[in-house]
């Protein structure tokens, strides 16, 4: 049970949030122009990194805002939190 620093509300218990998988996977603007393989890449392929991972989280039982989190999946340490559309503060 970790603590997440919602960029809109501040530090809250993990139980208020839901996870939304890997971040920075943009929905293709012109899906019809993609091959099956290219579409599958967007639809199914996720990195599932052991280590530092960029993820989407939603403050579901709070402000209901989506935002990004940089989390180490081996120890749940959160390195950064930033809003949707913002560049990751670290790489």
């Amino acid at each position: 049970m970790f603590i997440i620093n919602c960029p809109y509300c501040g530090e809250r218990d993990q139980s208020e949030f839901t996870a939304g998988g890997e971040a920075h996977i943009e929905r293709p603007k012109q899906p019809t122009e993609l091959s099956d393989d290219e579409w599958a890449e967007f639809l199914f392929m996720r990195k599932n990194i052991k280590g530092v991972q960029f993820e989407r989280w939603n403050h579901a039982h709070g402000c209901r805002k989506w935002f990004n989190v940089v989390r180490d999946t081996t120890n749940d340490k959160i390195h950064a939190v930033y809003k949707m559309g913002e560049k990751p503060p670290i790489d």
């Binding site: 970790f2 929905r27 293709p28 899906p31 939603n58 989506w66």
Partner: protein, 1000 residues
């Protein structure tokens, strides 16, 4: 009977006598005793039988690591409790307990025969033996194992006690109230930190609090006296909370911990003032100091499990804390200095004591003192065998060879009824590793120690590998200072004078003249696995500690291998010829000690298990005899039986009435999302498969929502209330998920859209009136509204007023009947409903529930998302091609509708099924096949919805069938347990394909 209580101590009140029962017999102990110390004071050692061989077993420890003394509390009652450690339960007046791992009784045990056939019960015995024949499992093996394994009886009545959950936040949490925990807590609290100190015992002080020994002095005081004063001072500190009888069960990330506090388990019935039995603390602490101590290791030698063989530190505690001796002819058997304290304590009480030390010789201060007192020490020696069935009576001693790999010389057999064993110490690193911390291996005394830190916590004292008093105090002070960023504490100049260990020798498996296969050298006492089992597993090719552990069941019992893991690792390392540190250790998982289910669920039981949502019309449904169905968290009327009707009869009546005259349904639970903004119609275009831009104000449209993978996700009718204002309805169960999915797209993919979503499910109540007479009823309710078909056609909406309250009327239908839905602010829901019933009286308006609703919509072939679909159905599979816009450039899931997999023609598709015998009703979920002669029979699909239609007077069903679209008119078979049902594939719309009723 001799009295084994030989000494007065500060912790047992010998003026307060307590009677208790064990195995049906009455005994006496004192206030302050545990069940274990009270039993020992009565000379009772034999308290159970071992798991596999049913060997007699005695109390072996004095704490949570106890593998043998596991009891049933209040045996023979409906509220009995199994698996309680005698070493942990405090004695109270009227306590009743029995040994549990034996049948028919502890002194005569049929399972003991396993002891003699034991050569045939090697590692993996259960895997190997009970494999074959398969048919033996149910009737022979399982009952046999269950009965003789005897892991206690469960209570048969619901738990009458209350359990609490409480959240608490603090600056510093200290786990463990031994000397290092006390120093840490004092420093933290005095530096201004809001501090909590937790200990699982009823008194603080750990093992130092009974260390009454000239060899251990702090500031020139005997360690025990010094610590006693520290504790008194500690209790006065303002920002410190001390929680005794509280054990930390789990340490999660971000310093989130669970601790169980026992409130009444130690009290007799009459003294239980609170009806809360246990409280689970949910602690969030900025910093955590782990001071959980260490557990003494046993030694592994032949027949090392007899009653009377006890950890040396426990023998010491039973004497100095409880005032009880465990035997009259005592031997200490050790590989280190710590057990010499036990020897000294016994000697000082004038009790016979000798020492067997596997080391060749050592000259530390405490050893010299022991020698000076004239206590015999057998150097470089080991115990090779023990004797005595119900209690140890003698032991056999031999010399060790130079390298310790063998025994030499002749055997000496001596009288001994208590063997105090010590194989060194294992730091309790459970909490550290649970938090995600890693471990280092220290070669010199072969211990795993806390390594790098993930969150702000430290380990201090013996759980950090400091075993000598001076190191403990010095290092605790240094580490706590650095954690709390302090310059100086009151412990800087604490002066410690103590004995220091000089020599070490460790042999994981002590040698014997007898072949290992013929010895019983136990490693895991609770699960009865021996050194031989470990070696066998290695011979059979197991290498990973995790595999060996599972194969031999070592460390898999309820004590989680607190005593056994290190020996198992040591023997594996030795046998495989690798360094122990490289093997790694097994994973320590929460809970540290077993938790009751009561503590886990707290107050969330019965009606509080989950939230219950009721519509504003709920009371009316109850009054009118509704049977309810759970739909998500909602209670929905299922059907309304009249007099002696069963469900089938009620549903037949309700659905007939709805089609013949009028029916009314509480549709308030449908999800409702208010959508506003200048891009609202564009938004709907993107989330639904059909087109929305041209929908006129005041019109309604059915929409199908897909996942990005092209599979049907939700459906419902959306109404255009204004230019930039829509009201979307969703399925009852899907409401919350649809809202969050739409929010996700709005916030992350299409932030440029000007759209706002608000859930209004709870704000509105909905009465849905259907049937040929529904229009008449609406006209009575709303005399000013023009219900003419041209003015108010199917799929349109009007605002109106009833008794000065605004409401919305939608002419939409889920039943295929002429139908209206009236939405009104939720607080007026019930009175609107009652007005509808009133207005419908002349038309026999009939309230109907979800079952009738399902039947009516099935007649019309309308799908229910989640019943007729399962996340693998595209709109094309549902034969709903008509709702997928060909013109729109994009919508959620569009691209997936022509992936190679989704365009396959032989996908499972939704069809209707008619039974050959119209009276035969199919079972939902039943398989569908075509050819039953060819084995294995090919499964084509399954029935998704099935009803007897009173309006069509025949059985109808919906099903998904592979290639079903092309099978219309074809015969298929639904095989059931006792018969095969012949069915014919039909259209999925059974009634009014032309929509005459809808538009009537």
């Amino acid at each position: 009977m001799p009295n084994y209580r030989v000494k007065k101590t500060d912790y047992v009140d010998q003026t307060n006598r307590i009677s208790f029962k064990f195995d049906g017999k009455t005994y006496f102990g004192f206030k302050g005793d545990t069940l274990a110390s009270a039993l020992l004071s009565n000379g009772i050692h034999l308290v159970g039988r071992s798991f596999k061989y049913h060997r007699p077993r005695g109390i072996m420890t004095c704490g949570s690591e106890e593998p043998n003394a596991i009891c049933q509390i209040n045996p023979g009652t409906d509220l009995t409790e199994p698996n309680v450690r005698a070493t942990e339960i405090e004695l109270y007046e009227g306590l009743e307990a029995s040994s549990q791992n034996c049948w028919p009784n502890v002194n005569f045990d049929i399972g003991g025969i396993n002891n003699f056939i034991s050569p045939f019960i090697p590692a993996g015995f259960y895997y190997k033996t009970f494999m074959w024949p398969k048919s033996f499992w149910k009737n022979i093996y399982e009952p046999l194992i269950r009965k003789s394994a005897g892991l206690g009886r469960s209570p048969s009545l619901p738990d009458p006690d209350l359990y609490d959950h409480k959240h608490i936040h603090c600056d510093v949490l200290v786990i463990g109230g031994g000397i290092s925990g006390i120093i840490a807590a004092k420093i933290a609290a005095k530096s201004g930190s809001n501090t909590i100190l937790i200990d699982d015992k009823n008194t603080l002080g750990g093992s130092t609090i009974f260390q009454n020994n000239e060899n251990f002095k702090i500031n020139d005081e005997i360690s025990k006296d010094w610590l006693f004063k520290e504790i008194e001072e500690l209790k006065k500190l303002k920002n410190l909370t001390i929680k005794t009888r509280t054990s930390v069960a789990a340490y999660h990330s971000y310093n989130y911990l669970l601790a169980k506090e026992n409130l009444t388990d130690h009290l007799s019935k009459n003294n239980k003032t609170s009806n809360i039995r246990q409280r689970l603390w949910k602690i969030r602490s900025n910093k955590v100091i782990i001071a959980s101590g260490a557990i003494e290791r046993p030694l592994v030698f032949n027949n090392n499990d007899r009653p009377g063989i006890i950890l040396a530190s426990s023998v010491n505690k039973y004497l100095n804390f409880y005032g009880v001796i465990c035997g009259e002819n005592n031997f200490v058997f050790t590989n280190n200095d710590s057990a010499y304290e036990t020897a000294l304590s016994l000697f000082e009480k004038g009790i016979q004591i000798k020492i067997i030390d596997i080391r060749k010789k050592t000259n530390s201060k405490i050893v010299k003192r022991v020698e000076k007192l004239g206590i015999d020490i057998y150097w470089n020696s080991t115990v090779t065998n023990t004797f005595g069935y119900r209690k140890l009576n003698s032991i056999e001693i031999m010399n060790l060879s130079e390298d310790g790999s063998n025994v030499i010389g002749k055997k000496t057999k001596v009288k001994c009824d208590c063997l105090a064993v010590s194989g060194g110490w294992t730091p309790m690193v459970h909490m550290h590793t649970q938090s995600g911390g890693k471990l280092n291996f220290r070669e010199s005394d072969q211990v795993f120690l806390p390594k790098e830190l993930v969150f702000e916590h430290i380990s201090v004292g013996s759980c950090n590998g400091d075993f000598e008093l001076d190191d403990i105090i010095k290092n605790t002070n240094v580490k706590v200072k650095s954690l709390l960023n302090l310059k100086e504490t009151e412990f800087e100049k604490t002066y410690v004078n103590c004995t220091k260990e000089l020599d070490k020798r460790n042999i994981w498996l002590l040698p014997n003249k007898i072949a290992l296969g013929k010895t019983k050298s136990f490693i895991d006492f609770q699960n009865d696995s021996t050194a031989k089992d470990i070696k066998l597993a290695l011979r059979e090719g197991f290498r990973s500690i995790e595999h060996v552990k599972r194969y031999t069941t070592t460390g898999m019992a309820t004590d989680q291998g607190k005593l056994s893991n290190m020996h198992a690792l040591g023997i594996i390392a030795e046998t495989a010829g690798v360094k122990m540190g490289t093997l790694g250790t097994t994973t320590f998982r929460p809970p540290f000690t077993p938790l009751t289910f009561g503590a886990i669920v707290g107050r969330n039981v019965g009606q509080f298990f989950d939230i219950t949502r009721r519509t504003s019309i709920h009371e009316w449904h109850i009054k009118n005899n509704a049977k309810f169905e759970n739909v998500g968290q909602w209670k929905r009327p299922w059907y309304y039986p009249k007099e002696n009707e069963n469900m089938h009869q009620a549903v037949q009546r309700e659905s007939k009435a709805a089609r013949d005259s009028a029916g009314i349904l509480d549709a308030s639970t449908l999800g409702k999302i208010d959508i506003q903004g200048s891009d609202a119609s564009e938004f709907l275009n993107r989330v639904y498969t059909n087109a929305w831009s041209k929908l006129a104000i005041g019109k309604c449209r059915y929409g199908l929502m897909l996942n990005e993978d092209g599979m049907v996700y939700d459906d419902g009718v959306t109404t255009r209330l204004g230019e930039n204002h829509f009201l979307m309805t969703t399925t009852t169960g899907g409401a919350a998920n649809v809202l969050s999915k739409l929010e996700d797209y709005l916030q992350t993919e299409w932030p440029e859209l000007d759209v706002f979503l608000t859930s209004v499910t709870d704000q509105y109540s909905t009465a849905s009136i259907c049937g040929p007479n529904s229009k008449e009823i609406l006209m009575k309710l709303f005399p000013s509204v023009n219900f003419n078909d041209d003015d108010f056609p199917h799929m349109s909406f009007k605002n109106s007023i009833i008794n000065n309250i605004n409401c919305r009327i939608m002419r939409i239908s889920f039943t295929g009947e002429l139908s209206y839905e009236i939405n009104i602010e939720a607080k007026y829901g019930k009175s609107l409903w009652e007005k509808c019933i009133d207005a419908g009286k002349d038309f026999n308006i009939t309230p109907y529930g979800t079952e009738t609703m399902h039947l009516l919509r099935a007649e019309k072939g309308f799908i229910i998302v989640g019943q007729d679909t399962d996340g693998t159905m595209t709109p094309i599979d549902l034969q709903m091609d008509w709702i997928v816009s060909k013109k729109k450039y994009d919508f959620i899931g569009k691209r997936s509708l022509y992936r190679s997999d989704t365009i396959r023609e032989d996908r499972k598709q939704l069809v209707g099924l008619l039974t050959e015998d119209p009276k035969e009703i199919l079972e939902e979920g039943a398989q569908i096949v075509s050819d039953i002669s060819k084995k294995p029979v090919e499964m084509l699909g399954h029935v998704t919805s099935s009803y007897f239609s009173p309006n069509l007077n025949k059985s109808i069903a919906l099903a998904v069938v592979r290639n079903g679209k092309k099978m219309k008119g074809q015969k298929l078979i639904v095989p059931m347990e006792n018969k095969n049902i012949n069915v014919i594939v039909s259209d999925s719309i059974f009634l009014d394909k032309e929509n005459k009723r809808l538009n009537a």
